[in-house]
Symmetry: C2
Subunit: 435 residues, 2 copies
C-alpha cells in the first residue's frame, strides 16, 4: 500500500533510521584531540607495514625493537583456549634476561587462536625469521595476533615483510604501530607522559587496541608500553600486575574474554636515572603512579571504543564487605544487558541497578543500599529517595559520560569499574555483518 509521502520526507525518514541504526565511523566517545603526541623512549624503535593478512588497504603488521639491557613484564588472558602467541609469550617471559635486544611482532586480522599445532608452527616460523634478520635469540622475540579465531595464519606473508620492517624501524612511529594492530577499533589508543623521578627526567609511552570481546577476567586486549626507566624485571612485573587489576582488569565491554589478550611492558633503562631496585622506594612509587595513570587512560580508551558505544559509564561500589566483593558487584552491574540497554536509551532505570546488585551473589542488605546517578541520590533505605524525581534522572542520563555510585552499607570494601552501553550498533557490528 502506497502512502502519500514525498521523496524528501521518505529520504529524511530513511536518513533518521540509518543514523539510528548504522555504524558511525569513529566512536562518539573517542578523545576529541585524536592520538596524543607520545614521548620518544630511548632504546625503542617501531615500524609497521601492510602484509595483506586480512585487510587490503592498511598496515596490519608492526615490529618493535628494544635495546639490549631492557627489562620486560607482561600479563595475559587466562582463557583456557588462549592463542599460540600468548602461550609462547608466557613461556619466554619467565626465562627472558636482559642479555639481548627484545623484539615484539604483532599482526591484526587473524588471531592464530584455535589453529592446532599449525598455530604453534606459525609462531616458531615468525620468531625464527625475526631472529635471523635482527640477530636476536628467539627467546627474546614476542608475538601477538588479533582477529578472527580458528583460521590458519599465513605466516609467510609476515615473514616476507620482516626485512622491510627492520629497515623502517625508527623511534617516532608509535602511532603507525598503534594503527597497524587495530581490528574493529574505530580509533588508535595512545597515552604517554614525561615526568621526574627524584629530579631525573623519564618517559612512558603506550598504546592499545580493543573494542569487542572485552572482559576483565584476564589481562587485557593488546597493549604495549615502553619506558626509559631503569628497573629490575621482577619489580616491573609486580608493579604491572598490581596496576593491571585496577585498570585493564576493571573494564568490560561485552563480558566476553578474548583468546589473545596481552599486555607487554618494556623498560629500556636508557634514562640517566638510577635503577629502581626496591618496589617500595619513593622512586618506585612515583613510577607506579605514572604508569597507573597511563594504564588507566588506555583502559578507558578501550571502553570508549567499545563496539557500538554511545555512553561511557564509571561504576563505583562502596561499603562492600571487601574490595573483591565490591568488584564482583560492579561487574554484575557493568555486564548486565538490561542496564547497558537502559544507558543506551537514556533511561534512569535504577531498578535494574538494584537487580544487578541482587544478582551478583555478594552480601548486600536491601535496606542499607544507597544509589546515586552522578551526584543525584536516587535510592536509600531500601527504596526510592524522597528527594528524587524521574526528571532529575532523565536529565542526568543525557550526559555522554555517566557515573553510578552504589553504597552497599555492609562494610568498607570499594572498587571502580568502567563500561559502555549496549546499542543497536553493537548488534549491527556483530550480527549484521559477517566477521
Amino acid at each position: 500500500m502506497k502512502n502519500n509521502k514525498t521523496i524528501d520526507q521518505l529520504e529524511a525518514e530513511l536518513k533518521g533510521l540509518k543514523a539510528k541504526y548504522h555504524i558511525k565511523k569513529i566512536s562518539p566517545l573517542a578523545p576529541k584531540d585524536g592520538f596524543p603526541k607520545l614521548p620518544v623512549i630511548k632504546g625503542v624503535r617501531y615500524a609497521s607495514t601492510a602484509a595483506n593478512i586480512k585487510y587490503s588497504d592498511r598496515d596490519d603488521v608492526m615490529l618493535i625493537e628494544c635495546i639490549q639491557g631492557s627489562s620486560i613484564g607482561g600479563v595475559f588472558t587466562r582463557s583456557s583456549t588462549r592463542s599460540a602467541s600468548v602461550l609462547d609469550c608466557q613461556k619466554k617471559l619467565k626465562i627472558n634476561s636482559s642479555n639481548s635486544p627484545i623484539a615484539i611482532l604483532v599482526n591484526s586480522g587473524n588471531s592464530n587462536a584455535f589453529t592446532g599445532s599449525y598455530g604453534e608452527k606459525s609462531v616458531s616460523k615468525i620468531c625464527e625469521a625475526i631472529s635471523n634478520e635482527l640477530k636476536i635469540p628467539t627467546n627474546s622475540i614476542f608475538t601477538s595476533s588479533t582477529g578472527v579465531i580458528g583460521e590458519k595464519l599465513l605466516h609467510e606473508k609476515i615473514i616476507k615483510k620482516i626485512q622491510e620492517l627492520k629497515f623502517n624501524l625508527n623511534k617516532n612511529s608509535a602511532e603507525s604501530a598503534a594503527r597497524a594492530i587495530m581490528t574493529t577499533d574505530t580509533f588508535p589508543k595512545g597515552a604517554g607522559s614525561s615526568f621526574l623521578i627524584s629530579g631525573c627526567p623519564v618517559n612512558i609511552a603506550g598504546f592499545a587496541k580493543g573494542s569487542g570481546m572485552i572482559s576483565p577476567d584476564m589481562a587485557t586486549m593488546l597493549v604495549y608500553i615502553f619506558t626509559d626507566v631503569s628497573i629490575e624485571k621482577n619489580i616491573l612485573q609486580n608493579i604491572l600486575t598490581k596496576i593491571n587489576e585496577k585498570t585493564f582488569n576493571s573494564i568490560t565491554v561485552d563480558s566476553d574474554t578474548s583468546t589473545s589478550d596481552s599486555l607487554i611492558i618494556v623498560a629500556t633503562g636508557q634514562s640517566d636515572c638510577k635503577k629502581i631496585t626496591d618496589e617500595f622506594s619513593a622512586e618506585a612509587l612515583k613510577f607506579t603512579d605514572e604508569l597507573h595513570a597511563i594504564m588507566s587512560n588506555l583502559s578507558k580508551q578501550v571502553v570508549r571504543d567499545g563496539e557500538g558505544a554511545s555512553k561511557f559509564l564509571e561504576i563505583l561500589i562502596n561499603g562492600a564487605v571487601s574490595d573483591s566483593s565490591a568488584k564482583t558487584v560492579g561487574l554484575a552491574i557493568a555486564n548486565s544487558p538490561l542496564i547497558k540497554t537502559a544507558l543506551a536509551g537514556e533511561d534512569p532505570n535504577w531498578g535494574r541497578v538494584v537487580m544487578g546488585v541482587g544478582k551478583s551473589g555478594e552480601p548486600a542488605d536491601r535496606d542499607k543500599i544507597s544509589i546515586w546517578f552522578g551526584n543525584i541520590l536516587v535510592a536509600e533505605n531500601g527504596w526510592v529517595a524522597p528527594s528524587y524525581n524521574e526528571s532529575l534522572g532523565q536529565n542526568y542520563m543525557k550526559n555522554e559520560d555517566l557515573k553510578i555510585t552504589v553504597d552497599l552499607g555492609v562494610g568498607n570494601g570499594s572498587s571502580t569499574v568502567w563500561t559502555c552501553d549496549l546499542t543497536h550498533q553493537y548488534v549491527a557490528i556483530n550480527a549484521d555483518y559477517r566477521s
Copy 2:
C-alpha cells in the same frame, strides 16, 4: 544530497529497515498451536481480572484457590534484593501444613521489589484481605508480583478486586490466569499432561511467564504448577528442586536475574491414586518424569519468548570434568553477547564458541575440544575439522531451532542449557522504549 531513487524504491528500503529493526507482535518462536488445552486439576480453581495496576486494557491480577489437604512446594530467586512477596512466600512455605486451603494471588505491572517496608505492608494487606474473603489463614496465602522495580504497589487496587475474583473462581480458567501475569511476554505459556501412575489416572497443569531478566542462578520467572497427585510435602519439594536445576535453572535469555522469580507447585491429592510417600518408588519416579517434561516444556517456552528472540539454541556440553563444570561452560556460551549476536546474524562463528569455552574458567584442553553445529562436525583436535566448510555452517544457521554440541574431552560431565539470540529487537525493547 539528493539521490535518484523513486518513491517505490525508497518505500521498499524503508519497509526493509522497519522489518529488520521493529518489534514483532508475537515471538516467531512461539508454539504454532497457541496455548494448549490444559487438563482440569481437581481441587484447583482460577480467576483473573483487570485491577488497572499498570496496564489499562487487560487482566493483571489472578487468584488461585487449592483445596484443603494440598501439598505445596516452591523454589525462588536467590537475588539479595528479592521482593517482599518472595520473602513472604519463603517464610510461609516452611511452616505451611495441609490443614487449610491454599490461595495464590499474582499481579503483573509492578514487582513490589525494592519498595522498602511499604512493600512488606502491601503484601500483608493483600493477604489479610484474601484471608477475610476466602476464610483461609494468612500463612496459607502466597503472592507474587512482577513488573517495574522500585515503584509503590497500590495494593488497594488489588484488594478491591478480591471479592470479584473469589466469585469468578472456576476450574477452567487457567489460560486467563496465565495471560493475567504476562509483562513483556508475547504469548502465554502453558503445558499439561494426563497419565497413569500404576494404572491410576492423574494430571499436571502448569503455566509460566517470563521474557526478559531471565538468568538461571535462581529459581525461575513466575511459574505455577498444579497436580491432583497425592504426595507428601517434603517429597514434592525434593523432586521439584532436583528438576528445577535441569529446567528453569538451565535457561538464560540475558544473564540478568530477576528479583521476583518464583515457582510454586501444589499437589491437591484429589486423584483416586494412593499417596506417594517414598521419593524413589516407581510411582514417584513416574511422577518425576512427567513433571520434568512439563517443567522442561515451560522453561523452553520462556526462552522462546526471550525478548527479541529470533533463534532458539540448545547447548549440550559433554566430556567435562563434572556436570556442574559442564553447566558453567554451557552458560558461558549461552550468555556470550558475541555468540548470541552471531546467532542473530546466522553466522556459523564457531571461533566465538571456542572463546566461550575459554572464558568459562573451567578445565578444558584446546586439542581435545570438538564442536558440532547440529550434526555437522565443525572443529576437532584443536582446530577446524577437515570435513567442515563454511557453506555447511551457513546453511545450518538458517534454521530457527539450533543445537551446538561441545565435547571437552576431559571427563564424563555433561549438561544441557537453552538460550536465544541477541537481536536488534532486544535493544529496541530495552533501550528505545521506557519501561
